[in-house]
Amino acid sequence: MSDFATRTDAALMEGPAFVRTKPLAPLPPPLAESGAVGWLRKNLFSSTLNVALTIVCALLIIWIVPPLVKFLIIDAVWDGSSRVDCLPRPDHPEIGACWAFVIDRINFFTYGFYPIDERWRVNVFFALLAVGVVWMAWLDAPRRDLGVIYFFVLMPAASFILLLGWPLIGLSKVETTSWGGVLVTVVVASVGIVFSLPIGIMLALGRRSRMPAVRLFSVIFIEFVRGVPLITVLFMASVMLPLFVPETWSPDKLLRALIGVSLFAAAYMAEVVRAGLQAIPKGQYEAAFAVGLSYWKTMRFVILPQALKITIPNIVNTTIGLFKDTTLVFIVGIFDFLMTVEASRVDPNWATPVTAPSGFVFAAIFYLIFCYGMSRYARFVEVHLAAGDRH
């Protein structure tokens, strides 16, 4: 017994052959998964291909960014009054962007040929528009129902009187031919949205209507307009519209462009709104009819509020497209912002090799700020609405 015990004890002391008795040498610490080095390893150098891609991208950045910064900021000319300031001189051999040209022409870019004494009216218009846009865009703003009336009725009427003039109340008349620059860009974009949204809603309802004639008309209009380029629509508005109305009407050039742009945008709005209408469950319609609401009341109080809410991001995206498309009004001879830049570029007083790039870069920054801002807003609304649906 004791013999057995001793043997077992000895065996236990020695342990079975597969049990390690000596501790193993510690492994090297794992590669850092967190911290700056870990991040670099994971996101930039995870494989041979990624190392190569990272190097190529880094070279691309080195190739593009420093010359760009040098051109736009370091070598740029900030003040000056004529082309001489933007030409290379012995003490300033490398000339970057000619911001002096942009600063000199900023009033022309903003107001076009609008009479200098009357430019406060344009500023008031910008302010009115800003109030309207904030009221509409701020989803929790007070009295948004009033905001809708302001944005779609009051503001357009006030702006019309303000910009065009009304001699009876002491505002002298300013012909649209002298409008230009940012003013025209903003007018075309805002008239486009103010008219295209209601027309687009009507077309979308028409396309889903049970009346065949209404449906047919809506489908033909929408598909026709979406199938042709905006330039041909503007051509049509500019050369065919005057033929179709009595000679005495002879619509003004800007008005023709506005009609073309509004109808064009309306067809795109209609499709966006239709998508929203289709997303509303059938039960909503049936419930509204069951409590005895008429067609228009159903739409006004039940369907459209829900459909338009989920459509806001797409409406904003369509507006971005509309804003970019305003540049096409040059085709009918209107001086929008881009055309004022284009026209100033060839001004002999500022003729230098860097004038054209400077003007275009300035215009690009202008459009980039507005369009990018709008697209961020669309994304914000999307997230905001998704959060609202969760609880």
Binding site: L44, T54, A213, V214, F244, F330, C371, Y372
Partner: protein
């Protein structure tokens, strides 16, 4: 209990929904007919007063203007009809090339946006956000006026290796000249393509029956590229190049690519690629992650997973919006008018309209062309969608 007889009071006609519907539609039709009729009346009056001819008789009239890029025979004595075809072909050329390059660039950037490499994804994101948010017209003017027109004059042309020149008058490239015996190579190319398709069908059927795979890719490359090259070599390379020669004021010979064409193509490709990248990204993200995991667990390699599992499913989501991007590119090619590339709108809705004054006919024809292109494309699209749609049970 006697059955209560319900007599529904007869609704007055004005409250009858059917009658109302008919009345509304009648009013709408009347308004449209009236508007159309008065427009036609006004147009007839205005045209008669301006002494402008109507009808399509001008189609046969002599154009009398020159066009800077003609891919079919055209001279100042050609007809307006001929000018129309020149413009249409120029539009289709720029749109066709634009679609090809924009697709390649767009797919690259779309995939780059999803890359695990932070720098690559960020740069692709920057590209998309910047390019999408700047109007195409501005980009075209930039390429044309600030880049291509700022190139050196002819005397200081940039020399491109291989015998080309780049200057502010355009890009001059060696033009290949095909000698008669090169047609054998062309025939070989045709035969190679047919044979490759036949081989593919055979390989697929064999795989379905026996599970054995055939080296489809290598055989296809051999048939489509190798065979014509071999025939070319056998017939002693019957292709020569007509190299452009730089003179003092002009460049003779070779193939000339207009700066307007280059600017338009650059602008359209770069702009549309940003939108295609977003379409591609959305399509790839739409394929559920479980699909990739399932493919890995049955032992497919990453490349095979992408090619056989992810891409076929992503394409179903990608193709419809991709087509509408192609249509947008075609419609955007009308911006050629801003930089003077002779496309359909520039030639027809511009010059021809100004010369003949027949606004209605010219605009109607121009719109009909674009409308036809988009209707045909969307009809094909619907056909494709019907074939590709998931069959739900």
């Amino acid at each position: 209990m006697a059955a209560v007889e319900i007599t529904r009071p007869k609704t007055p006609l004005i409250y009858n929904p059917k009658a109302r519907g008919i009345a509304y539609q009648a009013v709408l039709c009347a308004v449209i007919v009236f508007l159309t009729w008065s427009a036609i009346q006004n147009a007839a009056d205005n045209l008669a007063r301006a002494k402008i001819a109507t009808g399509f008789g001008f189609w046969e009239g002599t154009a009398g203007f020159d066009i800077s890029q003609t891919l079919i025979e055209y001279s100042t004595t050609s007809t307006y009809g001929r000018a129309f075809w020149v413009g249409l072909i120029n539009t289709l050329v720029v749109a066709g090339l634009g679609v090809v390059f924009a697709t390649i660039l767009g797919f690259l950037i779309g995939i780059a946006r999803l890359s695990k490499n932070w720098l690559v994804a960020r740069m692709a994101g920057f590209y998309v956000e910047i390019i999408r948010n700047i109007p195409l017209l501005l980009q075209l003017l930039f390429w044309y006026n600030a880049v291509l027109k700022a190139l050196p004059a002819i005397r200081e042309s940039l020399v491109i290796p291989g015998g080309g020149f780049l200057n502010n008058r355009g890009l001059f490239l060696p033009q290949p000249v095909f000698e008669p015996s090169s047609r054998f190579a062309l025939i070989a190319l045709g035969l190679g393509i047919v044979a490759a398709i036949a081989y593919r069908l055979w390989a697929k059927r064999r795989q379905m029956l026996t599970g054995q795979q055939a080296p489809v890719l290598w055989v296809t490359i051999g048939l489509v590229i190798g065979l014509p090259l071999a025939v070319l070599a056998l017939s002693g390379f019957p292709i020569s190049f007509n190299y452009p020669e730089a003179g003092r004021f002009n460049i003779r010979g070779g193939m000339e690519v207009l700066p307007e064409f280059m600017a338009l193509l650059f602008g359209l490709v770069i702009y549309t690629a940003a939108f295609i990248a977003e379409v591609v990204r959305a399509g790839i993200l739409a394929v559920a992650k479980g699909q990739t995991e399932a493919a890995y667990s049955v032992g497919l390699r990453p490349g095979q997973t992408l090619r056989l599992v992810v891409i076929p499913q992503a394409m179903r989501v990608i193709i419809p919006p991709l087509t509408s991007q192609y249509l947008n590119l075609t419609k955007n090619s009308t911006l050629a008018v801003a930089i003077g590339y002779p496309d359909l709108v520039q030639i027809f809705a511009g010059t021809v309209l100004n010369q003949t004054g027949q606004a209605v006919e010219v605009i109607v024809i121009t719109m009909a062309v674009y409308l036809t292109i988009s209707l045909v494309t969307s009809a094909l699209m619907n056909l494709y969608n019907r074939r590709m749609a998931l069959v739900e049970r």
